[in-house]
Subunit: 205 residues, 2 copies
Amino acid sequence: MISISIVEDHENYRKSLAKAIETHEQFNIIGVYPSAEEAINELVNNPPDIAILDIKMKDISGIELIEQVRAQIPDTQFLMCTSFQNDENVFNALKAGASGYIVKGSTALEIQNAILELYDGGSPMSPYIARKVISMHHKQPAPSNFGLSQRELEVLSLLSKGLLYKEISDQLDISPNTVKNHCKNIYKRLHVQNKVEALNKFNSF
Amino acid sequence: MISISIVEDHENYRKSLAKAIETHEQFNIIGVYPSAEEAINELVNNPPDIAILDIKMKDISGIELIEQVRAQIPDTQFLMCTSFQNDENVFNALKAGASGYIVKGSTALEIQNAILELYDGGSPMSPYIARKVISMHHKQPAPSNFGLSQRELEVLSLLSKGLLYKEISDQLDISPNTVKNHCKNIYKRLHVQNKVEALNKFNSF
DNA sequence: AGTACAATAGCCCCTTTGGGCTATAGCTGG
DNA sequence: CCAGCTATAGCCCAAAGGGGCTATTGTACT
């Protein structure tokens, strides 16, 4: 049995959602709330396997709701429900901790499948959103390295761990002065004045 | 018409892939290469809309191939093909710049649909991988902030921009000594000894 | 009233860092 | 062979950072 709670402020949709879920014998609705405010405590006290949240609600958005309760119920998975397939908020909800979503107007079967996919470790979502999510992971092309040499990259990478010149020189088996020199050269190339700036510049490409 | 190139070192699969694609009238195969090495120049000189790459190949992996050519052919989309649905490499390929993948053993129809979905701006992938990708976007729950005060967070955020104590004190309109004090307190809370360590610790939670 | 803590700010002292400059050895490409 | 580049390493000096301590003010909870 998969326990499910629903948070949805439109009465009609809330009811039809509940009905679609009830008909599947593997699902067990343990809570239905008409507002985020009312849901927030109940979700924490009685965490479902899956919480179905409307993204846009009058009082608190589903996204905020996730942010507020997720830490306390780490085993609950969040399935958003949205009116618009490609809502920008869907993307934000996924970032906040949701694992998938369904579109309002889906058939009972589609809803059930989404829940099962979610419970199974999947992430029901549209191809468009999927692409958007993975695009965020794409490293920018042509790292180019700003023309830094291999050794300089090595030093930079150790710097990024918070090591001192001395510690770096020990690891690379060179003099601390040399490490210093590499840093100076790195700073010149990147047009910066200190470690943090260098790391920022480099890591943002 | 969608132009397509194929890079695949197993002859049998290469041929069956080509056949599955040819039968669709909207697809136009403009290159078929049995190794990454041979493909690399051709892809750059004659970039297809979609490049289908085997993830594991004898000489260079499909992932490395993407890294090497992506910068030069930004309009080409990469569709990986893999033997194992949940291969760790699939995930790495997506990070490198691929936009989706197909599993070896898919039917011609499945292959065609994946290509169309990709061309359409989607990202064909299994639910498991989708989840993995979006999980990476989840902010860690309960930022908790390590018990840092509001002011300390403010200072930390300015530190992360590479500013000096003096610059921070100017912006916050307090004394540089106070900024220093905040830093000292931050370091104590986070159990670190310097800026870079503090930023690392904080940003990785 | 008393305790606790955040934010402010100063002091001292030493270490680390950053910038300038020089120098040598090795390697590479005209 | 020479010019250019990298990696190495040293020197000097000044600025920035980090750790220890104390102190005042204000707010908040008890």
